[in-house]
Amino acid sequence: MNVDDWLRTLTAELHQRRVAADAARHVVAEVATHLREGGGDPLVVFGPPQQYAGAVVESIGTAPGPRPGPVRLHAEGITKRYRRRPVLRDATLTVRAGQIAAVIGANGCGKSTFLRICAGLVSPDAGEVTVSGRLGYCPQSGGTADFLLADEHFVLVGAGQGVARGPARRAGRAAARQLGWEAGGDVQARHLSGGTRQKLNLTMSTLSRPDVLLLDEPYQGFDQGTYVNFWDQLCRLRDAGTAIVVVTHLLNQLDRVDTVLDLTPAQTTGWHAPGVRGGHS
């Protein structure tokens, strides 16, 4: 990891841990000066950026997070069986504006099904979902058109909201840039790498400025830098008041989220954040 990468990761970490923007800028500027004047490998001098960010938070604290807003998504008593096999039992989740909820659990425990039910793409056997505002959904894979360019995807999604072509293209490119991707170009979606295609997928879901954003493991194929940018963008969206639900199996990200729904059968994580009532009985 070179100095620039290390500093970028540190910046994202401080942002995600809600260190006040001015304080974070100050810390990064000081560290950058130190590294450039003193030289040396940042991993040796300061340790991993995540660890250093943790030390900074302990030392200077964090800015008070914005108070959670009104409820944007409320899923109550969601039950689903495939044939006779129960997949979800009485799963309940409430997410407010400005919150990130993580849906976790073992493979096949119904995480994607739960998200598709919340998006209204699959009907549950029991339960109901209330969504306030506009809904955005990013599937785990697929959801793009092989023979269309990125710009054409943006135009297609934009037209659904009545957005003209030019602004839709510009908005798509700007959102893609947040993930470290320059989307303009004449590359068809089928020729994009797996990770870049997922960036397109993710960009499409945020393009309509949703109030509730549902993300089904959208980071598959992301490299480390993009992964950091991804969480950075999620935090920005959260701070702007979006309610976000992200399916994940990466437990190391759970300290970044406000609410966790564990769908692992007959097991509890030991931590049920407010608004969560577990997935399986």
């Binding site: 809904l135 092989d146 023979f147 135009v155 999604v157 659904g160 009545g162 068809q188 393009l207």
Partner: protein, 230 residues
Amino acid sequence: MNRLVTVAEMTLRELLRRRGVLLLLLLMPLTFYLIRRDAYLGQSVRSLLLGVGWAVSTAALFATTAARELEPRLRLAGYRPHHLYLGRMLGLWTVGVVISVPFFLLPMIDGADLRYGGLAAAMLCSVGVAAPFGMLIGALLPRELEGTLLLLTVVTVQMLIDPAGSGARLTPFWSSREIATWAVDHTDQGYLARGVLHGVVVTALLALSVAAVASVRLRRRRHLRHLSIG
């Protein structure tokens, strides 16, 4: 209207970029025409029309299958089901008409003595029926292989069935065959009238079926309640 046109445009763009598929689409009716060219001209023209119908149905099937994952998220992005299926149909009809032009000119260049207005009407019927027919199969069968095999079966039946028998009227491309008979054999107007009526009715029925399937698949689910904010 803008949403409809955007979906139609993107369908066109996608199909035009599938160069291999386009080439095969053009090759198929040509082969159908040439293979019967030494025999009776009527058979040759009827095979050509069937080839156009098969080609456009196949394109419609592929376009529908490819859009299966994309459509639900477009629905969430603000599209209504009719924007999606009508837009796609519009794009496919446009592609069908474009690829029909060289095949309309082919018998002309070949020096065939035909009623060319009839040939144009038969081609329009063939394209008109083929787009919703392929889309319906694509909507009902999730995998391209099954859909292609079903299309192949229908076209084979269409080719082998006795056109004068009552069962032939149940086949989707009977209209173009009937109009082609009027155009090639200079038969009475009844052939043209029956053919046009059949083409219009079948196209309407297939389009309604596509609408019904799309409306069910992309419906708003009862468990989801939307509240507006601000």
